[in-house]
Structures are given as C-alpha cells and as structure tokens.
C-alpha cells in the first residue's frame, strides 16, 4: 500500500470517513483551547466529572426514546452534564471538600448510574457505543451540530479571553477592579459542558475528556505562552483525530480509543523530545 492509500484514500472514497474527519477537526479546534484553560485552572477533574455525567444522561434519553437517537441522547446528556457541573460548582465553593475529592465522587456516581441504566435496557453494543464513541456513524446533521458548537466556543473564548485568563491567574486583581469573575467562570464551564456533549458521539463519554486533557498536557511540554499552548493543543487534538480515524478504519478499532491512543503517542513523543519534557529535566538535574 502506498502512503496516499493509507493516509488519504479512506477519506476520498468514503463519505462516512469524510464526515468523521470534519467532525473531529471541529471538535479538536474547540477542545484544544478549552483543555489548556481547564488544565491551567487545575480543573481537569471537573472535566472528568462533566464528561462522565454524559453517560447517565444519554442512557436515560435512550431509555425514554427507545432507540439510538442522537438528538435525544445529546439533549439528555446536556441536561445531565449541566446538572453535574452546577452541583460540582456548588460543592466546590460551599464546602471544604477539595475539588478533586468531590468530583471523583461525582463521576463515579455518574458512571455507575449510566452503566446500570444502559445494561438494564440496552444491549452491550449500545453501551459500548456510548462509552467509546461511534464517530463512523456521524451524519450531516451531527456535523452541523458539532461545527456549530465549535464555532460558538471559539467566538465566545475570543470574547471572554481577557477576563477569563485574569480570573484564572490573578483572581483577586479581577475582584479589585470590580469585575465579577464568576460570570466568566460559569460561561467557561458551560463551554466545557457543550463541547464534551458534542464530543461524546465521536469519542464516547469515557474518552471525550481525554481529547481535552492530553493535547493540553502536550502543549505544556512545548510552549510557555498561552497563545502558543492553545495553538499546539488544537493542532495535536486535530492530528490525533486524523490518525485515530485512520487507525480505526484500517485496523477496525473503536474510534474513541484510537483517537485517544494517537494523542497518547504524541504525548509520549513530546515527553521525550519536547523542550520542557522529561529529557530536559533529567538533563538539567544531572548538571
């Protein structure tokens, strides 16, 4: 097989591969910057909690509608994730529980509930689809939804970039100039929710948050400024999407894990070769 047969032809020949590619490019563009901000805000755990909340939401929708209806499952998971994000926010701001502990409890709860509901009423195939994604079943409607969410995310982020960044690294300054940081925090959480919901069809509820966190961690190994990190995160997310889809096509793997494995490979390579990776730190330490 030639290079082009491996890398390009699947997308030329098959409409479902093209749609999958468009979908993962759109997802990657939004996930990259969101993941970087999530990591910098030390909120990776919140991402986890929200992403797992997708499962019971989608499961209940499936239970009500009785078939795999993407729209119903999206709606269900959107509602469930918003609820979890809301409660997680309240718990972290009103109790002394450290965020990681309270969010770990939230996502374990969601995961257990979701698996229970789906395994009672659906087949194992459906459970697997929700958990690990079925990007190869993306239709035109889904693309519009994912593309719309990605566009909305990028525009909103561009608009609230300054207060969001300041709220993240010097919240007391933002308060001292009379801004209400919590509005931007909530907007940001909302963006995380709708993106994870948008990502669950392609990546699955277990894997979606990986496409947010891994590219962010990769970016941190390569760059020291926020714009550069954002760019690198988006590029690595899109790249993992591309190669993940190819692996999924050629080797018959589920799309979600393939995409996340691709991101993991980029992460491992970055650990070895990136300027702020393990090699550099070990080298510096031995000096």
């Amino acid at each position: 097989m030639t290079m082009s047969a491996i890398l390009i032809e699947p997308f030329v020949h098959y409409g479902f591969m093209r749609r999958a590619l468009v979908s993962s490019v759109a997802l990657g563009l939004g996930f990259g910057p969101l993941g970087v901000l999530l990591m910098l805000r030390r909120m990776s755990m919140i991402g986890d909690a929200i992403s797992h909340a997708v499962l019971p939401g989608a499961a209940i929708a499936f239970l009500v509608v009785g078939s795999i209806s993407m729209f119903a499952m999206w709606l269900g998971s959107l509602i469930a994730s918003l609820i979890v994000a809301f409660f997680a926010g309240i718990v972290s701001q009103t109790t002394i529980l450290k965020e990681d502990a309270s969010f770990a409890s939230f996502y374990l709860m969601s995961l257990a509930l979701g698996v229970l509901i789906l395994s009672l009423n659906g087949s194992n195939i459906e459970l697997l689809h929700v958990l690990f994604g079925t990007i190869l079943a993306v239709n035109t409607q889904d693309i519009f939804l994912v593309g719309g969410i990605a566009s909305f995310t990028l525009i909103t982020l561009a608009l609230i970039y300054r207060p969001l960044v300041v709220q993240c690294y010097d919240p007391s300054f933002l308060r001292s100039v009379g801004e209400r940081g919590s509005i931007y925090h909530l907007l940001f959480l909302f963006l995380v929710v709708i993106n994870l919901v948008a990502g669950f069809q392609a990546l699955g509820s277990l894997m979606a948050v990986g496409m947010m966190i891994l590219p962010a961690v990769i970016a941190k190994l390569w760059a020291r400024t926020l714009p550069a990190m954002t760019l690198i995160a988006a590029v690595s997310a899109v790249t993992s999407g591309f190669f993940g889809l190819l692996a999924s096509y050629h080797l018959g793997f589920a799309s979600g894990p393939s995409i996340i494995i691709s991101a993991s490979l980029i992460y491992i390579l970055s650990l070895i070769f990136a300027p702020y990776g393990a090699r550099t730190s070990i080298y510096n330490r031995s000096l």
Partner: protein, 254 residues
C-alpha cells in the same frame, strides 16, 4: 485609641477612609474588634501587629472583599475599583504562562475593561512603568521565569499603570531581597510625593520607623493608631504581644 483621631473623624467626613466601630468576623471568629479611626488622604500608614491580628482582613475589608459585621466604613467618596491593591503574592499563580508586559498592561483595566482594545499609548506606558521598576527589556519574558523580587517589581509596575489615589499593600517585601525592597520603597516614597494615600502591612519595625509617619498597631483590636514613634512604643508592643500570646494559650476562646 487617642482622642485626636476620633475627634477629626467626626469633624471631617470626606478627608479619608473612615472606620466607625468596625468589627469583622472570619470563620465565626472576631478578627477585627471595634476599630475606629481614619486613614487620611495623602498620608502613609503602616499596619503592623502579630500574625493573626487581622491586618490582611482589615485591607480586604477596605477592598470590599469582606463586609464589616458591625460598624461602618466610609471610603471618602472613592469607589472600590479605584483602589490599588497588592495582595500577598501567594494568591497569584506565578507558573501561569503569561508575559510580563501583558501583566503590567492589566493595570489599564479601568480604561480597557474586559473587552476593550489596548492602544499603543498604553503599551508605551507599560514599558515606562517597567523601566521605572528597573525591569527594562523584560517585556516579553514569561512571568514564570521571574524571581520573587522581579515578580514583585512587575506588580508594582502594574500599580503604576493603575494610577490609583489609594494604594493598599499587603506585606509587599515578604521574601524580597534588600536591594529590591530599597527600590520598591523608593517608588512608594514617590507615590507619597504625588499625594497618594498609602496603607501598607509591614512586620519590619525599622522599615516602618524609617519610611512611614503613621502606624496602626493591631491585635484584633487596635492597640494604638497615630504617629509611628508613639504607636511603636515598647509598652504598646508588649501589650500586642501579650494579647497574641493569649490566642495560643486559650485557643478555644479566641
């Protein structure tokens, strides 16, 4: 409390930041106990006292981050957002990937707000502020590459850009070397000459005596507030210390 301060408090209402019988609770504990007095506009006041005496709480109360449970604060017609505030640097994430110049330009927040554009004039101002704090050419450096002293200089540059009438500094020289401290004290002196009001939390009595004419000695309740030499008398310091000792001896009461 000397009667002179109280007298002027009632005579002139808009000449400074006035406290009238202010008590503040924090975690159900009274951290500021019945404070009355005035930080007059155009003066420099040091706040000192043992750890846990309510110094930072007092500054946060002036900033409106905490509300007095009893009593009243009159900021003399100055809005909270026009106050310049430098918290203890511990609260800032110094590993955050943002450049020095971007941090300084935030000082123009009152002019640009969350969405407005930064003009080239502001960039010049920021560059000027950076050279004023001795960080010429640091514009593009990432703040995570700075030492604690350099970072404090950056925050002072941001204050310069904010151009506030009242400046609140919470232990600004903590963990800062002598040379940087000297430079920053020089900037504070310049602010005094520009008739700005300065309220600063300090532990170093030498620095207070050398640079700050007024001092408030706090041990949850005000021990003394007035000219530095009177406030920092050995009798007053002893009183503050014995009150602080009692917090440790009888933790369930305080």
């Amino acid at each position: 409390m000397d009667s002179h301060t109280l007298g002027s408090f009632f005579a002139v209402t808009h000449s400074g930041i006035c406290f009238q019988n202010v008590s503040v609770y924090y975690n159900r504990q009274r951290v500021i106990d019945d404070l009355s007095g005035i930080f007059k506009f155009g003066t420099m006041t040091a706040i000192t006292g043992p750890n846990g005496a309510g110094k930072s709480t007092l500054i946060k109360t002036i900033m409106g981050e905490l509300l007095p449970n009893t009593g009243k604060i009159d900021r003399g017609g100055i809005s909270i957002s026009a106050l310049g505030y430098l918290p203890q640097s511990l609260t800032i994430d110094r590993s955050f990937p943002v450049s020095v110049i971007d941090t300084v330009i935030l000082g123009a927040w009152q002019r640009i707000g969350p969405f407005g554009g930064v003009t080239s004039k502001m960039e010049y101002e920021a560059a000027d502020a950076l050279s004023a704090v001795g960080l010429n050419g640091f514009d593009r450096r990432s703040i995570c590459t700075l030492s604690a002293g350099q970072f404090q200089r950056v925050l002072f540059a941001r204050l310069l850009l904010q151009d506030p009438k009242v400046i609140l500094l919470d232990e600004p020289f903590n963990l800062i070397d002598t040379r940087t401290t000297g430079d920053l004290l020089h900037i504070i002196t310049r602010w005094r000459d520009e008739r700005r009001t300065i309220i600063i939390i300090l532990h170093n009595f030498e620095q207070i005596r050398a640079h700050f004419p007024n001092t408030l000695l706090l041990a949850r309740k005000p021990i003394a507030w007035g000219p530095t030499d009177n406030t920092l008398s050995s009798a007053n310091l002893l009183t503050a210390q014995s009150i602080a000792d009692s917090w440790f001896k009888e933790p369930e009461l305080y």
